[in-house]
Symmetry: C2
Subunit: 234 residues, 2 copies
């Protein structure tokens, strides 16, 4: 009986410690603390209660909130623009960085022993799982407020994303100049299709053939080829 | 002045007609009728106010609501199961069928002249746009109630999806028997990785090599190889 009381009081004290530390990053008091504990149980543990299910849910909630935010922020932009910009905000690298900014690595590490290794997506996954936990604990509006006020407005530089969104050719140019590498956009083919033409563009960087891309617009083909080349060399 | 009054009253009468007809399929009274009008302006019209932006938003809201629904319906299933099942509910074909069940073709056709042609995804796109309109008009909870009570519970047979979800091997078997084609699952490789084994399975149908898939579970490798083969031959 005494043991049970000791165990319960130890659990209570660790719960209230976690609550306090979460409150400071969330901006509100979490209620169902078990959900947040689960969000920090990374899946490599192969436990049935790992954070993978919460990650699935959080991913969906994050996607919807960011969709609405961008929809309203850019009333005159088409859905291609919105889709691309959203993927810049919620991609793996971005979520990874956000997780570190929120200090989620400490929560994850607290659940690990020294020999365990995290998979590279573990931080980003935990970040999405945290959003899933918030959603289940507090509902849609609190999740939305958290995502907009504590994530997007504080940590996401949309102007910066807009630049990187649209100017891959410039970025590749800067890279080539910095590393003193000759850069060429070679027009491999130009084919009449109906009343339109399809252009096939190849990026050749430092004499090496990188990516080939075809499109009805030469400008788009060059931009896409530049983007894919950047993904390869970075 | 008289003309203006006539035009306004014509608009009001057509608004109230649309409101009435929408109320019967939505189960609530729409407020901002312009949003719903926009949801039925298909994008082939190339108008700046087509339904593509609403479709982007609706797609995200639908994804989140279905995610939560399945998360709660299947508390012991992993995120791979949930992801697959969700994609069965919200894929293009499923949305197309739902759009027809809700009679959205009539709303779309009302915005077209005789020579126009709809692209094949137009109905499904309009269905997602409708959800986007509901979300902007009435908020998350009404959208969620609509999706769960008027779509999933009425029109989606989850048991049926579960069967098609999990039994690709049987489906391929049926296909092979019907067409009198010999079918083989060849174990190409079996490799020790840590304490687990990775199995590489190849589907050979009528002597032709189709898909190769590797997985820790032989059963999963066979199912996935069968699924991908079905996608190729159908």
């Amino acid at each position: 009986m005494l043991k049970l009381i000791q165990r319960l009081s130890a659990k209570n004290s660790s719960d209230s410690k976690l609550k306090k530390s979460l409150r400071s990053i969330l901006g509100f008091s979490p209620k169902n603390i078990a959900l947040y504990r689960q969000a920090f149980l990374h899946s490599s543990k192969k436990e049935s209660n790992s954070n993978e299910r919460l990650e699935f849910l959080g991913d969906a909630v994050l996607g919807a909130v960011v969709a609405e935010y961008l929809f309203k922020l850019f009333p005159y932009k088409d859905e291609g623009f919105l889709t691309l910009l959203r993927s810049k905000i919620v991609n793996g690298q971005s979520l990874h960085n956000l997780a570190l900014k929120f200090g989620l690595d400490n929560y994850l590490k607290a659940n690990m022993n020294d020999t365990e290794k995290l998979k590279s997506s573990a931080y980003g996954d935990a970040f999405e799982a945290l959003i899933g936990a918030i959603y289940l604990d507090k509902g849609f509006l609190v999740s939305k407020a958290f995502i907009i006020n504590r994530i997007i407005k504080v940590h996401i530089d949309i102007d910066d994303l807009l630049i990187t969104n649209e100017d891959y050719k410039s970025q590749l140019q800067i890279y080539a100049q910095k590393n003193k590498l000759p850069l060429e956009y070679k027009l491999l083919n130009e084919e009449q299709k109906g009343k339109d033409k399809i252009y096939t563009i190849q990026v050749i960087l430092n004499g090496k053939k990188y990516v080939t891309f075809e499109h009805y617009s030469k400008r788009v083909a060059e931009q896409k080829a530049a983007q894919l080349t950047l993904e390869k060399i970075r």
